[in-house]
Amino acid sequence: MSRGDRLFFGITSSAAYFAFILVGLILVFLIAQAWPAIQEQGFAFVYGDKWEVTEEKTILQIGPMLYGSILIALLGVLIATPMAIATAYMIVFILKGGWAKLATNLIDLLAALPSVIIGLWGVLVFTPIAQGWAEFLHQYLGWIPLFATDKGTTSLNSSPFIAGWIVAVMIVPIITSVTREIFSQFDRELVNGALALGATRWTVFRRVILPTTSGGITGGVLLGLGRAIGETVAIYYVLQLSMNINLFQILEPRGGAIASWILSRFGEATDKEFHGLMAAGLVIFITTLIINLIANVIVNKAQPWRK
């Protein structure tokens, strides 16, 4: 290798290792900071539902927050995925040149919005609207446990339902851009082959495009899920955080989200509590890591014909 090449190789490889090292250092930092809390609270930290900090005792448990994070992330993905797939389909297969670019840029712009802005919009503009939807769902579909509430139809705000929508708005861009990329690489010859057999746009999508691209789309969805689980500020604005676990009554004004919990407690945390919040951070870190690992496995397994 020439000197120039060696230098280039050195710079690129250290950039690559830098990411590794950074993730490793963050993990080490989190474990070190979380250790006192983990030692004191034991495994109940993950599934228990008490957070009490008094002079005599400190009980730190984040079960409802962890569960809430997952519930809201799943709701977000459920809402965002069809929207993202439809948007990507429009951009790649229907819209022409300039319009496709415009739509792509607008979606990317949505991704660039700071989450505090989305949170403020969520609480000031979106919540009153979504409250109407929630009341509608409760009134007509209240017999389904998912849409049941303890307190009737009044003020169904600050719920996991609303937080799910807010998270959906935030992850639509990432799922859309992954799906758009996959659609745009899709072999048009397959579309032609299907149309020549008497297919409609819908059956081409349903029988040919979707089965062929589902692995990649799943990857995008899981990336979105990873983001949704770590979402902090926007949820903090629109959700009533509660240690009283809300299993599935998604219209009820109580729920959980680990990251938002850390944000809400951090300012006035005692020393012991601080370590507990660090442990909560470690839990999100590990959860996100597991989701990403699953994403890799699914994406690889879903496309066995791609070798």
């Binding site: 010859e189 057999l197 008497g198 297919a199 081409v204 029988r207």
Partner: protein
């Protein structure tokens, strides 16, 4: 029940002109494709023959800027009549493409039967349809023991014959083939040519080919297309394959079939 009782149909192009945006690419094409015959479309690249074959089952409409004048009659009925749905046209007039394009997520069997699902048709006897279609594409014996394997496990030539079988399962009256052998080796090409010969007994076949020996081997009639700078493509000569290659009337045809240009 959907058994194979093929009925070849006559297909007629009347004064067909095609534009892509402002640019005219075909002008006043008049051709008759007779039932149970193979018609070859030949001509140099860019002469409009591939565009023309796509107008025969309205596939050219997928190009947003495409416009058409004239009529295509299938047994006397215009496939461009406003009351006709292009989806129905494509079920009666099948198409095989240049590059084999089996659906990669489907098994061999499901590829053959894919047209049913894609078009929403039902068949009471799928097994029979599967077997008949594969037999007509002369590949039943090769694949009968591996029907559940992915279509991508087949060789290129087999994939192309699978695509033919896939079209045949829709029981079309006409089969359009756009350079079906250009991506294949000589052995596979020979097998597909033999299949074309057998199929012509029960249907009308139109084939675009770059290969003049192939046109002579498989077709009964030949149409020679030509375009020039600023002159849209059109038919220079149309007649029996024997005549077009043996005693061409137009000197341009003579030059082309004898390899003087193209």
């Amino acid at each position: 029940m959907m058994t194979i009782t093929p009925v070849a149909a006559e297909l007629q192009a009347q004064d067909v002109s095609v534009w892509f945006g402002e640019r005219q690419v075909l002008k006043d094409v008049n051709l008759t494709f007779r039932a149970n015959r193979v018609t070859a479309l030949i001509g140099p690249s860019g002469c409009g023959k591939s565009t023309f074959i796509r107008t025969l089952n309205r596939m050219h409409e997928l190009i947003p800027s495409a416009g058409l004048a004239g009529a295509i009659l299938l047994d006397g009925k215009d496939i461009y009549d406003p009351s006709v749905n292009p989806v129905d046209v494509r079920m009666e007039i099948g198409m095989v493409f240049q590059k084999p394009n089996p659906f990669p997520t489907m098994s061999i069997q499901n590829n053959v039967l894919s047209g049913l699902k894609l078009s929403g048709l039902h068949s009471d006897n799928k097994e029979e349809l599967l077997e008949t279609s594969l037999k007509r594409a002369s590949m039943w014996n090769e694949v009968k023991d591996r029907l559940d394997e992915p279509a991508t496990s087949l060789s290129g030539g087999q994939q192309q014959r699978l695509c033919i079988a896939r079209s045949l399962a829709m029981n079309p009256k006409v089969l359009l083939m756009d350079e079906p052998c250009s991506a294949l080796d000589p052995g596979s090409t020979r097998r597909i040519e033999a299949t074309i010969e057998e199929l012509s007994e029960s249907m009308t076949i139109v084939i675009v080919t770059h290969n003049m020996q192939q046109a002579q081997r498989v077709s009964h009639e030949t149409a020679f297309f030509l375009a020039d700078d600023n002159v849209p493509g059109g038919v220079v000569e149309f007649g029996s394959t024997e005549q077009v290659f043996g005693q061409p009337i137009d000197p341009r045809t003579n030059d082309y079939v004898n390899g003087h240009f193209g």
